[in-house]
Amino acid sequence: MKDSVPELLKRFVRGDAEAFAGLVRQYQKKVYYVAYQMLGNHLDADEVVQETFVRIYRRRKELTDVTNFTSFLVRVATNYAIDLLRKQKGHSQIDDSTALPGETQIELARQVRTPREKFRDKVVMEEIRRALDTLPPRQRTTALLHDVEGYSKAEVAEILGCPEATVRSNLHIARKKLKAILKKRLSAKE
């Protein structure tokens, strides 16, 4: 029978390597998807996954005080991803056309869609991603966690370690900026 998360956590804090392996298996997808949304490519998302769990492992003694492991984990992951974003901003930005194949980024591709629709979805995805890239890291992370990943405002506040009012304000500003950038797309009738 699979151990529950609190049970795995207890054993992990005591130094049980098997429990840690269980936590990695259970949470790596969540970390990967958040990281991918923030960074937009597999290599960086993979780096975030690796570093997040290595950091969690090193900080396992702190887990005794953690009430919400998911938030704690996502916080470690987003902090690392924000650091990566800031570092990348410092360097010349990678041209999106050199990123991994865009068509793989579309969930709708799983449905039966015509090539024309697939192409349009890809273009839309790229457009949104470019728009998100223009936001400062905190606003981008807030919009991604809330609107894309579906975390509540309270959860986002816990993950980012800020008041809920800040999340509301960041989300409002992020949406306003995205609306301005995607104005043409948003006003087009489907």
Partner: protein, 190 residues
Amino acid sequence: MTCQYFRSLLDDFVDRELSPPIDDSVRAHVSACSACRAELEELTRLRKLLVGMSSPEPEPGYWQEAADLILARTTEAESIIDITTQVERSSRERASFYRSLVAVAASLIVFFGSLVVGSLGDFRDRQHFAVSGKGETVTLAVSTQTPSGGGYIAPDEQNLIAGTLLLVGTPGMFASSSSMAIALGMDQGR
């Protein structure tokens, strides 16, 4: 109430976070106000686009590979560190043991050296008395007898010094219980 008031509520409206009476009032306002309705439609489309964003599934086998790598970097790395620490500690203990051994050997050399010097002193004394007894020249007696200076140390003093040096040298041997453990062959279990 003004459009500005209702527009400030639109974020929470699309997130379905308003209480039923306020939600109803926004609904009523946007059905009557075309500008606010357009604003709401834009926001709803943006929300839909963001919700539709998803991360692609990585290559098959990635999750297992990533988990293995994380475990290699954490639990296995820790056991390597443990082994390294143990080896380092063991070599430190061995070095300490050899230092103690050298100290004891040096003490013994000084001790026996002092005994030899002491016996030579006794011999000189005996020679002096023997010479004096025979009534030969005073010059010979002066050259062999140096009672209070010139490096002459009385046998009792010599024994005292040698004993002290032996005591000073040996604590190094007993200072480290691990050295004793090695000396007594009790270190095999580790």
